[in-house]
């Protein structure tokens, strides 16, 4: 796969100097148009072998283009903060918003390759990481990102030559480290891993562009021109080339027996019993979060439910038992401007807590398959692919020892009406009821259908849904506290 990048491509100084000014001007124009319309983000990955000039090209691009619209990320060893989150967390946070270019030196490929070459993981693990990278890129593409991946290549002989050359000059000697020579000795193993990278992740949507790294003029000009071509192609894309959604078959609601109807909403607790149980489980939760084992896990609690089902009250019964430094409550409403400039999942990734912490989402990423589906805020293909993407997201969290506890608070249509009316009458509750609530109520059946599909498609062993009978608030709150304690206890006890 690297044959063409071992031919000794060169560009002489005169040609280079004649071409660069034109290229820079065109790149600046394209960048300006990109920023102007802010229609999509651009993600540029620079991968390749040591000594092929990865960091040089990053500097060159920053020099050629407008650095205000480029975000450069040199992804080195992950920090302690970063190690306490799933591997992808830091990349998500670094994604450029629409209209900007994110330039990544080191990416989601770097560590899987190194782990495999140094024998810390097996080839099958590398392939799994590559499949994950592939799916991430598919998702980012589907969300509109333009991804350009460069692979800078040097033959074994050229790599050696390059290191020797740098070492021979006192001004550049510092650039060749022992690590570089150690990697040179492992050239064949790197080569095999690199070939696997290209084979598994060079796709029609996001192909790798392999560039010979031996001659700086050739390398810089080639990369600059490819970026320019890709930018212009996308900026000038005719309407008929925009991807159109695929229609998807779906399970028709053939009978009226579904999960929500199978709940016994009459379940209730009397006041006395409630008080004693509340005390018991809040105490238990407080102790669990002080257990040394709690520092090895992360807890994410998701609240979804009908309007007026009592999410807020339930959350307060949890937080009452917690040290304020341990948790955060994240209310999810309509996305902000910053959030709209990013792929859908970004706004949730940014709130993933570190080890020993608890994040409570008051509504969540499930908005995509609930309100967005029903109100048509996204295409049917978008919410259909969301099930798969959500499962993927939660798998990543679970692999990172995150306890994911998801509650759907269910009330009856009559109970909702009672609560809406009550809210309208009580002054301090009036802010809680809006036009939107009444509108959602009119789509009750659509919501029921969407909730059942959601549970069917995203309730998994590591992130099961708990359906909570919430007509009686006391019953609901205790069921929630009890479930949460149980899940945390299981996770701490697990070897």
């Amino acid at each position: 796969m690297f044959e063409s990048a071992e031919l000794g491509h060169r560009i002489d100084k005169a040609t280079y100097e004649a071409e660069v000014p034109k290229l820079r001007e065109a790149l600046l124009d394209a960048q300006f148009e990109l920023a102007q319309h802010a229609a999509f983000p651009v993600i540029i990955l620079i991968g390749g072998v040591d000594g092929a000039g990865r960091s040089e090209i990053v500097n060159v691009l920053n020099e050629w283009m407008d650095p205000r619209h480029i975000q450069t990320h040199g992804m080195g060893e992950p920090s302690i903060e970063e190690l306490e989150r799933p591997m992808m967390w830091r990349f998500w946070l670094a994604l450029p918003p629409k209209g900007k270019i994110g330039l990544f030196l080191g990416s989601w490929y770097t560590w899987p390759i190194l782990d495999c070459v140094h024998g810390r993981t097996k080839e099958a693990d590398l392939v799994r990481s590559l499949e994950r990278a592939h799916r991430l890129e598919q998702m980012l593409s589907a969300e509109g990102a333009l991804i350009i991946k460069f692979w800078l290549h040097l033959s074994r002989a050229k790599q050696k030559q390059r290191f020797k050359l740098l070492e021979s000059d006192p001004k550049t000697r510092w650039r060749v480290t022992e690590r570089d020579w150690a990697h040179h000795k492992l050239y064949d193993r790197f080569h095999a891993a690199h070939e696997a990278v290209i084979r598994h992740t060079s796709t029609a949507e996001v192909p790798w562009i392999i560039v010979e790294g031996a001659d700086a003029n050739y390398r810089d000009l080639t990369i600059g021109k490819v970026i320019l071509e890709a930018l212009n192609k996308r900026l000038n894309r005719p309407a008929e080339e925009r991807p159109s959604p695929l229609p998807s078959p779906f399970l028709p609601a053939i009978d009226n027996l579904h999960l929500l109807r199978s709940l016994d909403l009459d379940l209730a607790l009397d006041k006395k019993r409630f008080k004693s149980e509340l005390e018991k489980y809040q105490g238990k939760l407080a102790l669990l979060t002080r257990d040394p084992g709690f520092n090895d896990i992360t807890v994410i609690v998701v609240f979804e439910g009908n309007d007026a089902a009592g999410k807020g009250g339930s959350i307060r019964r949890i937080t009452a038992a917690l040290d304020a430094r341990l948790y955060s409550v994240i209310p999810i409403a309509a996305p902000t401007e910053d959030e709209r400039a990013q792929p859908y999942q970004w706004r949730f990734w940014r709130h993933i807590p570190r080890r020993g912490r608890l994040a409570i989402f008051d509504r969540s990423w499930y908005g995509r398959v609930l309100v967005e589906r029903i109100e048509g805020y996204c295409s049917s293909h978008d919410w259909m692919r969301a099930y798969h993407e959500i499962n993927d997201f939660e798998s990543q969290l679970a692999r990172h020892r995150t306890v994911i506890v998801k509650f759907w608070l269910a009330i009856s249509k009559e109970e909702q009406l009672r609560r809406f009316k009550e809210r309208e009458q009580i002054g301090f509750k009036r802010f809680k009821i809006t036009e939107e609530d009444w509108r959602n109520r009119n789509r009750w059946d659509d919501y029921e259908r969407a909730v059942c599909d959601m549970v069917d498609r995203t309730s998994t062993g590591h992130a099961p849904w708990t359906l909570v009978e919430a007509n009686d608030k006391s019953y609901a709150r205790i069921k929630i506290l009890k479930t949460l304690c149980q899940r945390i206890e299981d996770a701490i006890k697990r070897p």
Copy 2:
């Protein structure tokens, strides 16, 4: 994920009998329209737990629909013939052509699940198999197939109840085997594997439809209705919902140094040397194919090259050394009617030989990224995704101990002209030169570009391209024989 399919869905006899006639008529209408236009194939997979009625529904569907347009495949244990090919071979051969429905009882999911549950493989292997299944389905979708996947579910209690019920009746007792009870004991392990299947392979394009299998009326009617809905949705798809291709950035040809230009086409062999080398390597090849180790491998040789580059002559120098029972030569021309009714790769899968055999492809699956790309016979997105799909295809072959030897025969533009003219003058060679040859010649530069991209993107460790300097036929033929011997020898010697 299976919660909804444990609620005890039922449909009473009266409703069932009232609905079935309408449904059957509608299904037959849809089937007729499907066959009439023959625009796409339909692939229906029936998966699920034992006892949930997988084979019953297959019988019902065959009864309800027109069996002339249904191909039913009960994919049991693979035969010896099938074991001697990659796992996917038998599925490829069983794919329905456009206008037909292929009904699969047992599929590419069956064996990976069984292997994992019985501990013959690890969870990571299951995930890899699922990723492969996912990619296969993506490819079939991209080629236009409608895929509908049903998962029939039973809770552990319902499964037991079902087996007991069948056993209690002398007429059905034979249907419950020891294997069924053994699987029932492993219910939890199956459940975990099944959840992994749904999680990894339920996508927006090809979602799993989970159906409770306890009540036959419910099961049959639900599946029938979903098939009807999916068929009609696709048959009546408005033009604007057809998927449109994504434009892809591509490496511009920035300089004139490329792989083909780096060849020394003056390389030649004198007559005497040719004769002795020919004898030597044909003898060697004959011995290698008689080596006991040859029965453990499969050999696939691919010939591509410029028109008049000497593919036929080179192939004859190989086959001259072989026992006629061992090899087949497969000339690839424009696809036949049967082939056009199938996904692109089908016509190559059908010719994959068993162990100890050799298949020589005179032109091959690389047509997609050569002539089809250049002549615009497929969209740019189609040939762009072909690189990835070809690498996948060859990986599957290589994992199955197939030696893949790929030759590009390169001649200069002048040499081609000389040979064209010669062919026009010599009577028995005149059939070898057509209008098309002259047309291709006019697109020489486009072909060079396509060949370089092809080699860059599909030359891998397990299936490398060998570029053959073919201006001198003797030189070319010896290089080819030598390379082929070397690759076979390496494979036989490998432990």
